[in-house]
Symmetry: C2
Subunit: 142 residues, 2 copies
DNA sequence: TATAATAATGATAATGATTTTCATTATTAG
DNA sequence: CTAATAATGAAAATCATTATCATTATTATA
């Protein structure tokens, strides 16, 4: 059994949620993609193997998967939530190509440090942050 | 006439848009608030002086005001776009209190510099970026 | 294993922000 | 002043997401 499945089942047990075949299939398919994936795209993927699974079930499953800390959402401002793996992936920021939609992941410790410093300056207790850089990726520069 | 009104009328002229009383009133009221304001809130404000102005007109006006670079949108992830002044306000990032909704503005040149460096590293041509830090403001810490 | 309690499901309706449509009104060039 | 056309408000449409509800699946326990 994978770490992720173990974590998921633990979360299910701890929260008086019942097990469900569908939900574990959704988790499996989500974990097998490396995209920043929307509900709609994930539903499409899931339907290929399990055509009977409805959209609402994907919403409900991804909600629980996020609460179990296996996924988190990103919002690039186009009105659609996307999901990415959280387990085994350290915090990172995103470079988002406004032409092709490509999302590049990056991390920089200095930025993180300065952020903390700025929070201290404003007596602000940070719980989370997101840095998104919009522009053109390598391939989309003429 | 204010700088802003001049810029606005120039933009109107350059883009074959007709002048409109309502639109300039919306602009005026928007410029008189210093909040990060939603369409709904702005409509409420506008209705006090001009009860006949409809919601769609606020949407249409703010869209043009943004295109004229007098305003820009921020999206703090609650599904509602907010607008803030752009003219005469340099770029800044936001600390967003997840309890009371307060938005603190901050700017740090080092962060901006590192961002540019990271873009170079990935051959990415930045057009825009946003950094949002979520947490608790001074007043909301117990 | 059978059963009762209850959570999960899919279809569909509801919601909320935003956009579009359309008939009417306002602006503007000539 | 008039014709052309953009702007308007009301209402309908759209789109992502959430809630509802009757049915099905899971699970604890008798
Ligand atoms: Mn990512
Ligand atoms: Mn601001
Ligand atoms: Zn690209
Ligand atoms: Zn606060």
């Amino acid at each position: 059994m994978t770490d992720e499945l173990r974590i998921f089942r633990n979360f299910i047990k701890k929260n008086n949620i019942k097990n469900s075949r569908s939900r574990e299939k959704i988790l499996e398919i989500f974990l097998n993609t490396e995209k920043h994936i929307s509900i709609y795209e994930l539903h499409d993927l899931v339907k290929r193997q399990y055509p009977e699974i409805g959209l609402a079930t994907i919403y409900r499953a991804m909600n629980i998967i996020c609460r179990s800390d296996l996924a988190e959402t990103i919002n690039i401002g186009d009105g659609v939530k996307r999901f990415e793996h959280k387990y085994g992936h350290r915090h990172h920021d995103h470079l988002i190509c406004i032409k092709c939609g490509k999302i590049i992941e990056m991390h920089n410790d200095d930025i993180e440090e300065i952020q903390k410093k700025m929070c201290k300056k404003f007596d602000f207790k940070m719980t989370d942050h997101k840095l998104q850089i919009f522009g053109y990726c390598k391939n989309c520069l003429d």
